[in-house]
């Protein structure tokens, strides 16, 4: 889904740093110990995650989306490009490549963007369940939520976070025109199309939420009956 080629140019410099001298990773001294000090910080970090004593994580665990923890820990191009020490942004060219790739990743429902069931959307927006692994694995026999309240305030009957913007009264103040519906759909599906290297997850591109769940959460934001728009 992610267009790796369009980003390749933007992250070429980064990749060079990451892989230059990569041979140091495999080299061990006479005692069989790998010399951590011979690696760059990036090389060592990757080595500690994937290699040191079999890996720093429980890499064999199976993931809900298929594959193993080892695969989930591997970064795609966007994750690599947006991993900036100090939480800064990459250069303008890389940001533009991320934005373009994000836009290309978005697919729309057949028949256009629809609003679903706001009551189910309310439950999903509140739920923090889904895709957690490790010591307390989320069994997806239970419905995957959107974790939206972690960062956003919606209806004020419940306390939401403030990492992201306040969304109280969203539909009431903005209406339900095609452009605003598209904007919110895109923001949920892949927010890097508007805000490259944002901290908001790509709920559509990653497969975290399916089409119906996105429609229901959008209904919670836009439906006049929803408590968000009281």
């Amino acid at each position: 889904m992610f267009k790796k080629t369009s980003l390749a140019a933007g992250v070429a410099a980064f990749a060079t740093i990451l892989f230059a001298g990569g041979c140091a990773i495999a080299e061990a001294d006479k005692s069989g110990q790998v010399d951590y000090t011979a690696m760059t910080p990036h090389e060592l970090a990757e080595y500690l995650i994937f290699e040191a004593n079999g890996g720093g994580f429980n890499l064999a665990q199976e993931m809900q989306e298929g594959g193993t923890a080892r695969e989930r820990m591997q970064q795609d191009e966007l994750q690599k490009a947006c991993s900036i020490i100090g939480d800064g942004k990459p250069d303008a060219e890389t940001l533009e490549a991320i934005r373009t790739a994000a836009t290309e990743s978005i697919t729309y429902p057949e028949g256009g963007i629809q609003l679903g069931d706001w009551e189910r959307g309310r439950v999903l927006a509140w739920s923090g369940f889904g895709y957690r692994v490790g010591h307390n694995y989320d069994d997806h026999a239970r419905e995957v939520g959107g974790t939206c309240y972690n960062c956003h305030q919606f209806a004020t009957d419940r306390v939401g976070g403030n990492v992201g913007p306040v969304l109280t009264g969203y539909g009431k103040t903005r209406g339900t025109s095609e452009p605003i519906l598209k904007y919110v759909y895109d923001m949920i599906y892949n927010p890097h199309t508007y805000f490259p290297c944002t901290h908001m997850p790509r709920f559509g591109s990653s497969g975290f939420l399916d089409e119906q769940s996105i429609a229901d959460i959008m209904a919670y934001m836009f439906d006049p009956e929803s408590p968000v728009n009281e």
Binding site: P41, H42, A45, L48, A52, F57, L78, D87, V159
Partner: protein
Amino acid sequence: MFRKALLALPVALALGATAHAEKAPEDVLQGLIDSIDSRYLTQSEMNLMMMPDNPALWVGMDGEDLFHTARGPNNVSMEACDFGKGPGVLEGAYVEMPRYFEDTGKVMDLETRIVHCMTQVQGFPADDPAVRQRHNSESDHMKLQTYIAMQSNGMAWNNPLDHPLETAMRDAGEVLFARRAGMSDFNCYACHGQSGKQVRASVLPNAKVPEDWTKAISWPAFRVGHGHVRSSQHRVRGCYYQMRQPGMLAGSDASIALISYWTDLARGQPAILPDMKR
């Protein structure tokens, strides 16, 4: 107050120095609160009020007994173990961890060093419950960690970066802190890059504000919501869990690298030990 005096007394006898014990953990926290405007530090008035009766203090007292008791197949106490300042010397040891240990050739955090002491000095097998159980107030680990950490209360975080391995681990930890991966694309900055932000009702510490960050990394702490004293490794595990990334293995070099970096971020700020958290 009386209990604190009781706690301090045996340490005074053992070490002949108790300067750090004169300031209670709640006073250390109050000092930080007075020094900066922080929603994170002030978010729980209740916890501040409860800190003189922090259940972690009792866990630490149990740890004191455990530390000084001859145990394991080799029937020796942990006084024979070196936590970085010489055998049995605990004052200020914890705020200078993780550190490089000559005897293992590795950078180790407190939990890993306790495992080393239990298995190599006391002779416990690696699968003994004393070694394996890490996570509840009743575990030997939490008792020992709390006791050892309390001997650094009020002291400034100062993990050494003299040995090349200490620097390499700290620098790799910095990369891990920023490394995005998994279903949510999160890294540590997603929650710890800004001040005054909250996830649901929890106000988050900002890694860029050392006065915030010293409280954030002051483990062991009694987590009121859990009803248990928790460790640094437990916090790391919880963060990766919420980030939708795989389970980090306690004691892995990856975990120690991350803890080396997060300790460096709080350098110079006083540790609150034991702390109390929501």
